[in-house]
Symmetry: C2
Subunit: 694 residues, 2 copies
Amino acid sequence: MAGKGSASGAWRATRTLWLLMLVGLSVCVCVCRASSPPPSAPQEDSAMENIVTEKRAEESHRQDSADLLIFILLLTLTILTIWLFKHRRFRFLHETGLAMIYGLLVGVVLRYAIHVPRDMSHMTLSCPVNSSPATLLINVSGKFYEYTLKGEINADELDDVQDNEMLRKVTFDPEVFFNILLPPIIFHAGYSLKRRHFFRNMGSILAYAFLGTVISCFVIGLLMYGCVTLMKQVGQLNGDFFFTDCLFFGAIVSATDPVTVLAIFNELQVDVDLYALLFGESVLNDAVALVLSSSIVAYQPQGDNSHTFEVMAMLKSFGIFLGVFSGSFALGVATGVVTALISKFTKLRDFQLLETALFFLMSWSTFLLAEACGFTGVVAVLFCGITQAHYTFNNLSADSQDRTKQLFELLNFLAENFIFSYMGLTLFTFQNHVFNPMFIVGAFVAVFLGRAANIYPLSFLLNLGRRNKIRSNFQHMMMFAGLRGAMTFALSIRDTATYARQMMFTTTLLVVFFTVWICGGGTTQMLSCQRIRVGVDSDQDNSMSIAEGSERRSTKQESAWLFRIWYNFDHNYLKPILTHSGPPLTATLPPCCGPLARFLTSPQAFENEFQLKDDDSDLILSDGDMNLTYGDITVSTDASGVHSSGGAAAASSDDLDRELTYGDHELVMRGTRLVLPMDDSEPPVTDAHQRMRM
Amino acid sequence: MAGKGSASGAWRATRTLWLLMLVGLSVCVCVCRASSPPPSAPQEDSAMENIVTEKRAEESHRQDSADLLIFILLLTLTILTIWLFKHRRFRFLHETGLAMIYGLLVGVVLRYAIHVPRDMSHMTLSCPVNSSPATLLINVSGKFYEYTLKGEINADELDDVQDNEMLRKVTFDPEVFFNILLPPIIFHAGYSLKRRHFFRNMGSILAYAFLGTVISCFVIGLLMYGCVTLMKQVGQLNGDFFFTDCLFFGAIVSATDPVTVLAIFNELQVDVDLYALLFGESVLNDAVALVLSSSIVAYQPQGDNSHTFEVMAMLKSFGIFLGVFSGSFALGVATGVVTALISKFTKLRDFQLLETALFFLMSWSTFLLAEACGFTGVVAVLFCGITQAHYTFNNLSADSQDRTKQLFELLNFLAENFIFSYMGLTLFTFQNHVFNPMFIVGAFVAVFLGRAANIYPLSFLLNLGRRNKIRSNFQHMMMFAGLRGAMTFALSIRDTATYARQMMFTTTLLVVFFTVWICGGGTTQMLSCQRIRVGVDSDQDNSMSIAEGSERRSTKQESAWLFRIWYNFDHNYLKPILTHSGPPLTATLPPCCGPLARFLTSPQAFENEFQLKDDDSDLILSDGDMNLTYGDITVSTDASGVHSSGGAAAASSDDLDRELTYGDHELVMRGTRLVLPMDDSEPPVTDAHQRMRM
């Protein structure tokens, strides 16, 4: 009866859903029609000018609301359809891909189905001004009106401006992406990076993200320069396209965004190291690509020809890259640290609302501070997120941990789907597309080769140093998972003033569509084709590594000396200063700093001293369990295993090893089968449950 | 040792906090200084005009970021200080009052401490245009720049515009309040109205909110007209001030916002009926005042003199009031119902993120839809919130119930404190204050008398019909709790073009300051002065009502016939259609609708048929408990109590009685002491705990 009931329920639900979708789409169309300005009624009373102005402002506001409503309805439709897909376990289309399809449909409707009467609300003035101020005061028969500068318009767009009011209305200012939509996405990515496997693969991730992105950028740039030179010779190019433009294109398409792939990885429980490599790389290379592209734009040689090679200008660009990146990094980390200190030294955790609000505001202020100082807010927000996850998160109350996770999860979901549906829409509503088949084919080849030049050589080099090799099927999968997404789109739409930029924008859009639909949709096939094991529970993974025996201490040797130094510093000083965990500072700092150490160490640290509570773990265990488990591991795996809890420096190298392995052992030893949550989209309520049970 | 540790911890925390505050304020000042435009460097190369334009745009963006950063830092400071106050149990200053004080301080700094060099980024054009289009294209030596209309500027403000760029920068477009800040506040209010005591006092609340607000508006309007006439005669008035202006003033200061008082009520556990009356009134009268003020603005008699009395124009205004109010109401309820249907008929509850996102998007779309249709978005959002709480909330998964509550709680907190700190700031940064002592004194008297004319006569009339009288000390408390807040401020800043409006704005600001600081701060004193019991646990309340015996069935007789009809309809038809609770429709609908009824009834409803699960209760009980309890009550309180579960119509009148009382009995019968949570700011995790325990 229950089975039958749920089946008929699902059938009813499906019917209802399709009905709703039909209703939704027709509402969309109605809204579009409604939002087109009505033919203005003839004004009988010319004296009521004020009222006319007010009415026009009201009309404009109504239209804005209607435009935004289109996107909201689009997102609603996407959510309902994606629910259906999840319900039916369709895996070939991710929500972002679906959002793009709906966006495309609405774009077609806006472009072709809706006739907008030409309205005369524009006016061209030819005033004798020799500059374009940010604010303009216009004297209209004794009354002053204030105007703000929106931007420059090309002379050939002029007719479009007056024609396609409707299409222009649904076009957002590109800065909206950088100031409103990207920050929560990037923060969320940073905030969910706090994973054991991320730190285990940190070296490789940094190599792919920094070195790999730069390689990819230059390979794509060089290939595109070849392509453009060829196009010039066969007369396919109708405007300027310089080498810096090629490099800029290389930078913007080097930012990967495998959100689709990762969602499937998470669902199918693919190898955790592969997941960590892909996720870590994509998070960091967004930041690298963003700063790289702005450095390339800043390349301006002196003299007449502004597109020659010049060492000084290149060095300056390189300096800008370093300066902006490190400045944003420092600011992000700094606000994270301030938040951690506030949450440690105040008892704000007694008031969860205040705590959550403070966390949100501090994270937002990072962005604003970086922008106000001339750094890159998005990059600052990324590192702020990582710092918050690593330190502040441990100081928050359990309730606030859930709240902040859920809040940024929701913001990320909404912003991401908004961007992807806007992407679909803009393929039809953007007015200055330049479709150049040769450039597009060249770009696809270059993007493919650029990704290959990133993954394969670097993997080869990394494998020289890695014990736990990146196997060739993993390399192919990483190659395949080089999807382009929100950051690439935002960077390409930021400036579409010149012919070169317009061609880039069109091509980028197609690259994103292709990779999200084809590569994203083919993930399951690719996984089985490459024989990458799915359904890998972490305990299976570990029973193997235990069986192999010699692999046991590999994590310790694998980690480079730089990472070891950092880990020791973090564990002995930063964690105790910024959080309630870690060894007390009185034990790690030299005796001369005694009073300071006592002031900075939280009372919990003294209590936890012998319990070795470590908040980095994904598994939430009570202290008692953890202690016992660690004891077992030490005995069974480490022959020298007398736990020296007194000397912190001596203990810390064991700590590192334990941190990197104990979670796995825990599972094996107790014989329970806990699924290690590697993805951040897992419902955080699970954590809450676990915590409550204890 | 623990006690000593926490004491020294608190001391350390306090020191840290004050340090942080100092740092914060100095950062504020630095940011202000940084955000003032630097003197423009002489441009050597005049050809690089593009770069100059870009740089200027970048500069403007940096300045915007810095301005916003000021507010974020202000809010952070407010949060830290309010934590300190809560920690120390200071009750004389609420967070909103504190936010205003910090706003004032920063306003003083901005106004007097920061010298902004006069910059030449403005330019006045005197072009031969005879209208002010929304978009303007300016031809500057062959290049076209697009400008958007920001608004009209008075001729006498012209110098200010050029002088006080800095002050203008921190001035928001008033529409920001109506489109961004007020909707979450109002939605949150509606979403937390789902309380048993609200429905018990519904008649009185509607009377205070609708009739009371209109009375208050007209009383204040008439008194102010008298005041203005007097001012004209003694020559204190420097501009026009018509009767409609007086009425408008009456409308905007009639919206009460006792958030300060309610926070204290909640903390001290003041009588639940008093709480429900005040909260319900303040939520609804915001909507009434908003629509009322726009109807008064729409009053425009035909003919030359636009300020005479005319029946047609008045009727039209009245029609607008009814139309806008009912239209917004209908839209809000409609989207709420659609959301309830979607959440009922899809299994979206399996995916909490999708569910929460859908809930958020649908609630937001209400606002946009209402604005796009020319209704009032804020009012629509209010009724959408009430509908969502009454129906959709029951269909959500436990996780989403928490998530949505917490999300809107956070948004409400941030938006509210932002508005109040902006209020403080604007007292010094707003450029066109008109301080007229006579008008201000008159306004204070009028506001006082208007509130009195609302509360006392209506309470007298309501007491004629109420069994559970509104006692005189409750009336005095309601009178005293007539604070003015966010809505009043937003309405008064919306239009500050004329002399009358400017004087109103200044006066309103002072009224808000006075009521929030004096009335808000004196709540505890007023409570003890009026001998209103504090620390009233709901079980005490109920043991009394049981002892009184005759009061037992008062709730049934008290509720008016209109409410009974609504309740029966809601319980028999709406609840079963829109949620999983209530009796199955097959029992309540006539037999001819059999198939439809079976289609609409959820499987749970059949299962719940005999268990009489009611989601309206604030107490979450397992079905078994409830059933047992109900059995007890029926026997002990209702002599005719054979439970006729077959006839739904017969059962429903019992249901009403039970719904209004059983929660109380539950507590008494079992002898447990559960605190009935009357406030919405209680941490929702409590619910989750309770649910999990069962």
